[in-house]
């Protein structure tokens, strides 16, 4: 019960000012470090999706998610383990053009890591690779040990559950139905 592992919290919210603060203070109060964070509009218009990862145990993540779910502007919050999701992070690597060309094994490297070149000019090359943390890290390690990396950035995790639809759409449909029923009763 008390073994720590990486949990992914997925939150759907209204798009209002100050929501990120409302969510992060719930982590802060329990001394939980947010490993990664990614926020963007969801597939449903006007609704934002937060994807947050954190190392903790199941008891704690369950309580945290309930506290998040309770906030007025949050539509739905839930948590998943890695096995239940498809997930990716994206990483960008800035390298010296001169060293990159001198290296000679560029094509093999790009193929090996399934990376691609986003930008190339006389000063620098920017590679892009998406994947799990250890995969983007492996490319970073190899480049660091050989030609060196000028700049490196990795995004927060984006994740999709393996079940067939976004659970939120069912929930919204259900809520819409209830609202209509309520309005009919009132009329």
């Amino acid at each position: 019960m008390n073994t720590k592992k990486l949990y992914t919290v997925i939150i759907f919210s209204e798009n209002t000012v100050g929501l990120l603060n409302q969510i992060t203070i719930i982590f802060t109060r329990r001394q939980l470090n947010i490993e990664t964070l990614s926020v963007s509009p969801s597939a449903i218009k006007g609704i934002h999706k937060f994807t947050i990862t954190t190392y903790t145990d199941e008891e704690m993540i369950d309580k945290v998610v309930k506290q998040i779910d309770k906030r007025v502007d949050i539509l739905k919050a839930y948590y998943n383990t890695d096995e239940e999701m498809v997930y990716q992070e994206i990483a960008l690597y800035k390298l010296s053009t001169e060293l990159f060309i001198k290296m000679g094994t560029v094509e093999a490297l790009i193929r090996k890591y399934n990376a691609r070149i986003l930008e190339m000019n006389e000063d620098c090359v920017v590679l892009e690779k998406s994947g799990h943390y250890d995969e983007t890290q492996a490319l970073f390690n190899e480049l660091s040990e050989t030609i060196g990396v000028l700049q490196f950035i990795r995004s927060g995790r984006v994740a999709i559950t393996k079940s067939k639809v976004e659970r939120l759409s069912d929930m919204l449909a259900d809520m819409e139905r209830k609202l209509q029923e309520k309005q009919q009763i009132e009329q």
């Binding site: 000012v17 100050g18 603060n21 409302q22 309930k66 506290q67 309770k70 007025v72 809520m175 609202l179």
Partner: protein, 565 residues
């Protein structure tokens, strides 16, 4: 539709929400609202407090006794920060409040303008909802939403931060009540399977025991609770905030839970076979050590807040919903039972507590006045019909232990946050919330002096609040801990106090000091018969202790009775 100022739109919105009383204090960033209020004096009663903390506590007292939303109006910056303690207190104790703070004009936001503070950022952790109104067009929507959120589901405080340009801006005013927010479902759907499971567990139980929390009062489920308990003959005890949900003389009411609760309820928590928690949150002052808490029992938890269920105590049957709707559904499935033997098991504990603690508190033969005897006599002098308001500390624990209740919504005390200084302004609010009832406020010399300035509010409003100061010239509860757990090292708990009677008189408040037991009854009668505010200073035993006591973090059955000395 009419074109009016934002300030007027705010007042019209408040009136549309049924607000007739607000507690406030003017200042630079809220002057336009106060200017509009000048024209609405006949519709909205504004109570001018002496400090913004007092405004929030008064609104809390008002809300707790009336069941309505308490409203506070203050200015920006320090006005807003002074309300924080009350907002946090309301959050912990699920009190519906709408706190309106003035704010600098929106172009100045984020510039460190005079009296600008990030109210939303500061209050988000301690509110149910916090919203900044930057445009006059948003006022009606925001106010309506604020009242809906504050008063529904598990109630709580809402902050509206009202920028000055929105106050002076013009708007075509039209009010529409909000009763639906798609991301907020205040009343969860009732799961009938869980209802059946709960009823089956109770029907099979030999020794069921019910813990009654404030959720019963907030959900207006007092009648439903008594029917539930009576049908299956289930003994019950209340948390501090759940007190008065059951009348004191209700036969199945076995008293109070927790650190200074009654012996029987605490012991039986660890003897019962089914524990039914209704609208309570297993606070550490109730449970003590969770590792040894009610391990033998199956736990049924009824609450409206999903995040409370399983938070502290693992639950066997979770019944989500308003107790007003869940309890009767369970009652319907209960067998009519008589549990005479089980109920009788509370008797020896009650006897023991009476012999070792209560007798000395209520019927002392000599020595200084005891807090308990003063409290019980005041309760009886008001026929147990009064509203009890307390401050925090020994006066509070003695107050809730020895006052008696005939009616619901009779206890106003700071439970979760334990805010010293809460009492005096809360008593003012309580009197406005229930003007027909007698309000008895018990306080200590420490807590009274934290918000003493509100005597000015009592004077200005000519308010009939009975103040009973249990004076021991000590910060008594901390001193008690120092005596018990810190080798009697009384580090900064002794107080040199002013002449409280003179202070009251300076405010035009009748006052009297009583030291002798022979004078106590007569002094209490004088206070009760007096028309208007009254301060009774009772000089009580300096080294008095509140017993019984379950030390912090100890097992609930590990009870200090204080009879060893």
């Amino acid at each position: 539709m009419e074109r009016i100022s934002g300030s007027e739109a705010l007042l019209r919105s408040l009136i549309a929400e049924g607000v007739d009383t607000i507690f406030g204090y003017p200042g630079g960033a809220v002057i336009p609202v106060y200017d509009s209020l000048y024209d609405y004096k006949d519709k909205i009663k504004h109570v001018l407090v002496r400090h913004e903390q007092g405004a929030t506590h008064a609104a809390q007292g008002y809300a707790r006794v009336s069941g309505k939303v308490g409203v506070t109006l203050v200015t920006s910056g320090p006005g807003a920060t002074n309300t924080l303690t009350g907002i946090a207190d309301a959050m912990m104790d699920s009190t519906p409040l709408v706190v309106i703070t003035g704010q600098v004009a929106s172009p100045l936001l984020g510039t460190d303008a005079f009296q600008e503070i990030d109210v939303i950022g500061i209050t988000q952790p301690i509110t149910k909802w916090a919203y900044q109104i930057r445009r006059a067009e948003d006022i009606a929507w925001a106010v309506s939403r604020a009242f809906y959120i504050a008063s529904t589901g598990r109630p709580g405080p809402v902050v509206l931060d009202f920028a000055k340009d929105a106050q002076v801006g013009k708007v075509d005013f039209e009010y529409k009540h909000v009763d639906y927010i798609r991301s907020y479902q205040p009343e969860p759907e009732i799961n009938l399977d869980r209802i059946a499971q709960a009823a089956a567990l109770i029907n099979q139980a030999q020794k069921p025991f019910c813990l009654v929390g404030q959720g019963v009062i907030l959900g207006h489920a007092e009648k439903e609770l008594l029917e539930f308990l009576t049908k299956n003959d289930i003994p019950a005890a209340a948390t501090t905030l759940g007190l008065s949900a059951m009348p004191s003389d209700f036969p199945l009411n076995k008293g109070m839970l927790g650190m200074h609760g009654n012996v029987g309820p605490n012991r039986k928590t660890n003897e019962c076979d089914v524990l039914i928690a209704v609208g309570m949150r297993f606070d550490d002052r109730v449970t003590g050590d969770l590792k040894t808490y009610a391990k033998q029992a199956k736990v049924i938890h009824l609450d409206i807040d999903n995040s409370e269920i399983g938070k502290n105590v693992p639950v066997d049957v979770k019944v989500l919903g308003n107790a007003k709707h869940t309890l009767p559904r369970i009652t319907e499935l209960l067998e009519t039972r008589k549990r005479e033997a089980w109920n009788a098991e509370f008797e020896p504990d009650a006897q023991e507590e009476f012999e070792k603690v209560i007798k000395h508190e209520l019927q002392p033969e000599s020595g200084y006045l005891k807090m308990g005897e003063v409290i019980r006599k005041v309760s009886e002098a008001t026929n147990n019909d009064a509203v009890l308001v307390t401050d925090v500390g020994q006066n509070q624990m003695m107050g809730v232990r020895y006052f008696k209740y005939n009616h619901t919504r009779s206890v106003v005390t700071s439970g979760g946050l334990g805010t010293m200084g809460f009492g005096l302004p809360a008593a003012i609010g309580a009197k406005f919330g229930a003007p027909e009832r007698t309000v008895c406020f018990f306080t200590g010399d420490g807590g009274l002096q934290m918000t003493l300035q509100e005597l000015g509010t009592i004077m200005q409003e000519n308010l009939d609040v009975k103040i009973i100061l249990l004076n021991n010239n000590f910060l008594g509860m901390v001193r008690q801990w120092q005596e018990l757990f810190f080798h009697e090292r009384y580090s900064f708990t002794e107080m040199v106090n002013p002449d409280f009677v003179s202070i009251a008189k300076a405010y035009g408040i009748a006052a009297r000091e009583v030291q002798k037991r022979e004078e106590l009854d007569e002094a209490i009668q004088e206070m009760v018969n007096h028309k208007g505010a009254y301060l009774l200073v009772a000089d009580v035993e300096r080294f008095e202790m509140v017993y019984p006591m379950v030390p912090a973090g100890a097992t609930v059955t590990n009870i200090i009775m204080g009879d060893q000395k």
